[in-house]
């Protein structure tokens, strides 16, 4: 672990679209169940992502359910946590979702995502390459342009600072490192790769 986190991602293992469509269609019933049994304070189900806010010691914690099929070929690994086999999401899948869903589709830039990408370039370059490879060239260009427009000292002034990052170098230079990672990925691609058509989920 390279930084503590108070946000969780839950990833249903099914890969066919039907369960995700069902979750979206039955989102009101799902919300009622969460409220009744778990005391959720807000359930926001969007195409691709559901966010649930829970009360935790007088703070609202956030759980994100990725309601979309995985982006990479090997989305989960079978790890053993306290003698129980748990399908944890693979690093490449986590990074791909951050790039595609949060930074491109939602247009949200948060220090923790940039830090994760920056530290992956140093410690886990293989999964980072896999994650970048599933993001379309035009989407990467758009993420790169957003990073290019961030004001100076953006990281230092952000409302959601990193929690005890292990690498101060990656923490302080996350924007620059992420820009370089994406620029390198773009340079390595053929210049006239056609745009991928939007999926029905994105339209």
């Amino acid at each position: 672990m390279h930084r503590p986190s108070n946000a969780a991602w839950v990833l249903p293992q099914a890969v066919k679209p039907a369960p995700y469509e069902r979750l979206f269609q039955e989102r009101l019933a799902f919300r009622d169940q969460l409220q009744r049994h778990l005391g959720a304070h807000a359930v926001d189900i969007d195409s691709g992502i559901a966010t649930i806010h829970f009360l935790q010691e007088d703070r609202l914690g956030e759980v994100t359910l990725a309601t979309s099929p995985p982006l990479t070929r090997l989305p989960a690994s079978s790890d053993t946590v306290r003698n129980t086999v748990v399908h944890l999401e693979a690093t490449a899948e986590i990074l791909a979702k951050k790039l595609h869903y949060r930074m491109f589709l939602q247009g949200r830039l948060v220090p923790r995502d940039l830090y994760d990408l920056a530290i992956a370039s140093d410690r886990d370059p293989g999964p980072l390459r896999s994650a970048l490879s599933v993001v379309d060239t035009s989407d990467l260009q758009e993420i790169h342009t957003q990073l290019h427009s961030l004001p100076e000292r953006w990281l230092a002034n952000h409302r959601q600072p990193l929690i005890r990052p292990e690498s101060q170098r990656a923490a302080s230079s996350a924007v620059r490192i992420t820009k370089e990672i994406i620029a390198d990925a773009l340079r390595s691609r053929a210049p006239y790769r056609p745009f991928r058509a939007d999926t029905s989920r994105e339209r």
């Binding site: 007088d58 609202l60 247009g107 004001p151």
Partner: protein, 211 residues
Amino acid sequence: MLDVAKIRTFYFHPPSDDPEHETTPEELWAAAERQAVEGCLLRAGDPKAEGLGEHGSLIGGPDKPARCFGFNPEKRLPRNPLPLSWFDHRRAHALPPDPPEDPDLFFAGLSAGCLAGYPKRPSGAALGRIFRAADLTPVERDQLWHVFACIHTKNLVRLLARGGLSIYQVARAIHLSEARFGNVVAWINQFAARPELDGHATSGARPPGDR
């Protein structure tokens, strides 16, 4: 993580309308709860019976009935963009590193998608010009407002790389159109910086035609 104590404070003491203050998520949650109570009272309902406001767990505490929104107030509620001067820094004026191949085509798609049915809706080239203009007619302002009303966030992102706009131009378009949509304002405010901080443009540092 949201601070529930702050939500409760803002519920009873909403902040004053300061254009230089960026609305916090806690303020939006408090505003959503106030709106729910006001809506309940307007339709002659009973906030206590419905577990709203101080009668629900969010404001009243954990011993009150659970309060659950079916939406995320941070996305749904209108909010104000930060002042245009906060986007007057060097990087916000920078145009995309790679100039787009056909911005008119991108704006034509945006016009077709967001202004379908609008009388004499603008062509791609005309909509691009509206986005880049510093002065707009009332009709152009209305067209921009409608574009922001239904634009998908991914197309906001594409205004830069595919539309060839700078962050300053997008921020100015949002201000001129008086669009206050949560997703639009949350996205543009990410690129704001206090004018007194480093990196703000001097008058000679801006690309030509960017004012």
